[in-house]
Symmetry: C2
Subunit: 312 residues, 2 copies
């Protein structure tokens, strides 16, 4: 039994390496020397941009407040968010040089001799964005309007997890809708997008399955958090095959945070209760990789309906 | 005389604060609590996206290799690039947590008590991208084809320089063409884009002036580098007013690096000489800010020709 699980893992790893090689040799992505960091071709970006617009179009009825953030967030907001408690291992902290000319000269000598040269680098007030919705909660701080708020955000996100699985990039784009309001507001939003995201994926040829999921919490304590998250069904994912039918990968994630962010950022409903929040996030690189796997490396020969939906 | 210079600087600073306030109060950008890091509205992104496409369309005759990179580059390539020698103060180094559960608990206690908590963070193999062209040189390593290479790249860039000038963002998008070849290839490219970029800006109502410029090199030694750069006319900028007619800000930058990157990354021409490189970069946020200043905060009422060019 253990042997067969180990064999299966080996087969999945081999399939992932094979798909990565195919993506590289067909020029869909370009190697940068760092696992999980790639250049993207014009075709890749057209497909990704097409799905990104499809996410926007599919949410027109949401009357969302549209905001686009750069790939960094304020360290102060990050500290309040609780991320460091659950995901220290995925965090990207931005450090800057604070030194004089003598320190600079010393640093260049260390670089020259192959030593660690970042001794004069100290933490700045910026952290790499862990998820596209993080900049939204601090700015919703205070009392919500009667029907709460709903945001449309998209940004690059960072997760420090170098991997040779092409679907596990360290830096990737996530397009999210974020709902902030009463528990009822938020549950309706979640139910709506569970259906809608599945239909969206289906319309571009991705046969997705909804599964209850958990976040990759840090440490042994994290296992308890994960079990509780599953038990309460707080996280759903839409999973599809990317490198191989043997392994399903999340391409959409739908998270109900209960009052976590409401408490952390002092967001209250019009009735004075702590606001609840939920978000649905589309992983744009993963969806693009799944589309290339299903339809092949030549978007111009993809099914007409898919090309129309993606504006290709 | 000194008084009048000081007065002028004060007036420029005041105009910049005033434009920043107007952008914020009109919802064009959103405050994040960190100077130089903003959320962007749907209108801002439409205008920026429109100019971004205009850059692509304006370079169709270049037959560029199109690549899009995430906002990070490999530390090893960064080290080879020489950036740390000239611009240590602008560098953003990405650090990740390397610790066990005990270290994590200690870190959370430090966070709780307001202490610096990044002691268990160490440098990763990633650096924030300093300029959109940086990922290109390592991948052009080796012998070039007969006519050299030409790339079209766009990415977020990072400069660690918090500022209340809305045009000086810490994270911003730059769309570049990059030429790699003989000195003759590269000079022709530079001359072409000096004319073309000026005409492009003019066509959207920005009256740009070309000036010889220098980079903000670090330290006293940097002043010598800057003087030499100006003397050899290696850097041109297209400057326009952004916050005030009293101060001109670069929105396009055209840099001739001579054999700097060719040497650093072992790029050689078909004749076996060290390759020369040049790039022309369009600062997309700055161009967008200049457009809002010239045409107002309502893109739907901008001149028809400008809206057509930008696809608005």
């Amino acid at each position: 039994m253990i042997d067969s699980v180990a064999d299966r893992v080996t087969a999945i790893d081999a399939a992932r390496s094979e798909y990565l090689d195919a993506l590289l040799s067909n020029g869909v992505i370009t190697d940068t020397g760092v696992p999980g960091v790639y250049g993207k071709s014009r075709d890749f970006e057209r497909v990704l941009g097409g799905f990104d617009r499809f996410v926007t179009e599919s949410g027109v009825d949401q009357n969302a407040e549209v905001l686009r953030f750069p790939p960094v967030i304020s360290r102060a907001d990050f500290e309040r968010s609780g991320y460091l408690k659950s995901f220290p291992h995925l965090t990207g902290s931005i450090h800057g040089f604070r030194g004089n000319e003598r320190d600079h000269a010393q640093m260049l000598r260390m670089l020259e001799s192959g030593e660690e040269w970042t001794g004069h680098f100290h933490s700045t007030d910026l952290i790499l964005t862990p998820a596209a919705c993080y900049p939204v909660y601090p700015l919703a701080s205070g009392e919500l309007p009667a029907n709460g708020r709903l945001f449309d955000v998209q940004s690059y996100c960072f997760r420090y997890e170098p991997s040779s699985d092409p679907a596990r990039m360290q830096v990737f784009r996530m397009h999210e809708y974020v709902r902030i309001g009463t528990p009822d507001n938020v549950r309706r939003f979640r139910d709506l997008w569970l259906e809608r995201s599945k239909a969206m994926l289906k319309s571009v040829g991705l046969d997705a399955k909804a599964v209850v999921a958990n976040d990759p919490f840090f440490g042994r304590g994290g296992a308890i958090l994960a079990a509780s998250q599953v038990e309460q069904a707080l996280k759903f994912e839409m999973v599809v095959p990317i490198s191989t039918p043997e392994a399903l990968t999340a391409v959409v994630s739908c998270n109900y945070h209960q009052d976590h962010f409401g408490k952390a950022f002092g967001i209250v409903t019009a009735d004075g209760d702590v606001a609840h929040t939920a978000c649905v996030g589309f992983g744009l690189e993963r969806i693009t990789l799944a589309l290339f796997m299903v339809h092949g490396f030549t978007p111009s020969s993809w099914p007409t309906a898919v090309r129309t939906t993606l504006g290709l």
